[in-house]
Subunit: 280 residues, 2 copies
Amino acid sequence: MAELTVETSDKPIGVFDSGLGGLTCVMELMQLMPNENIVYFGDTARIPYGTRSKETITEYANQDIGFIKKHDVKMIIAACGTVSSVVGGVKDPAGEVPFTGVVIPAVQTACAAARNGRIGVIGTAATIRSGAYGRAIRAIRSDAVVLGNSCPLFVPMVESGITDKNDPVVKSMVERYLSPIRNENVDVLILGCTHYPLLRDAIADFMGEDVTLISSGAAAAKYAMNLLAGKNLLSSRKEKGSITYYTSDSAELFAQNAQSFIGRSFTGEVRKVTIDELCS
Amino acid sequence: MAELTVETSDKPIGVFDSGLGGLTCVMELMQLMPNENIVYFGDTARIPYGTRSKETITEYANQDIGFIKKHDVKMIIAACGTVSSVVGGVKDPAGEVPFTGVVIPAVQTACAAARNGRIGVIGTAATIRSGAYGRAIRAIRSDAVVLGNSCPLFVPMVESGITDKNDPVVKSMVERYLSPIRNENVDVLILGCTHYPLLRDAIADFMGEDVTLISSGAAAAKYAMNLLAGKNLLSSRKEKGSITYYTSDSAELFAQNAQSFIGRSFTGEVRKVTIDELCS
């Protein structure tokens, strides 16, 4: 009788984003699967993606995926709402490597939480223009009413450290972008961009405690765990996993700015990737 | 006796920027020299430059200059405050092609206008970090007091159309960024980024009528005219010149967004340049 074996994989999980927003997904991955190794790439030399055209976003996403694949990863997470919306509909965008964006995970979580079937979505201009969240929601729940709005200033606000819920600029922009959604009595709101959890307090205050906020990066981390478990690809490592960070702009700037995304001082090692390496 | 001849050149003037801000310089060029041809490049696939590192800005600037040089131009204007500050100190950044950024032109104009020798400068994070404006001002006027402040949210606000002087977000951000400068009693303020003229009304209201605002893009256009005249390179063309626009992101998005920068509907022809073409 053959011995019962459980397959495992000690290969790293690959995560990428246009910048640092994807770190909100990495934090959740570390929480859920502390023994996994992670390779992270933030395309800080070309952030933001969300204001650009579909063609440019697709080109950048393919380069990002190509770069992550060089690290022999067992799965790839596009921890970027814009890439997930624009490229996520492509079948197997990473070829034979298992792939997820944040749209399907966030939508599954949102549909499970929605009582009245009215779901709000906020994201970048490209995300909202793509209609990806609405399609994914209606595929699960055809009677759902989806209220979407783009919030183009949220990413630069977060990148500039303008996130305090008592800041009049934060209050004003949250009110401007979210009023059309709050007025429609949604009971779930998807934060469809991985930068937005840094504005969670302000958004929660404005939407009220009856509205459940879904962090798309955190949802993607849970989805990735289930996917890896289902494929017998979780790590057998007993010690704590390591994270290697890559960035297309200055490693120093990455380390400086990472702190606000992970909520504590950043001590990781960051390596610079040139744009030529990405283009080649 | 030799016949007196005046040399001329019908080659175009090359102008580039990280995005559309440089159009504030192009408008002034068209006003001053309506018969000149212009080639404009806006690197909209990689805007903004001002939040990036010196190394990345230098790499992008060199690619932009390389692209513009392919069009057999008679001079190049870096109509981008960030590029001008970071690369402008390099001797002959475009090789044998005459070159100007916006720093020297804006500083010459500011020093001529300053009565009390107290000069304010606002720009992107990279511009202010570079110290380029302060060095250029003190080279002309060693007793000048230079008050600089970076305004990282101004470019995304302009790109998002948030520019109305009565908008509470505009008022709040203008107050936040400019209070430290207004409190120092400057009588001249350099708008050290070619996006900022779109916020001129709000800035003028806050600074008061005694403060002269200098548009760096407009100053660069005047400087270019003098430079071309001095080198006998003005065009002999009698008819109106033409402008060819290139952009690294979608031509359609460029045309849509250009209107707010030129203050009227945009009718030009825009051609898309791929990032591969820029990198090669």
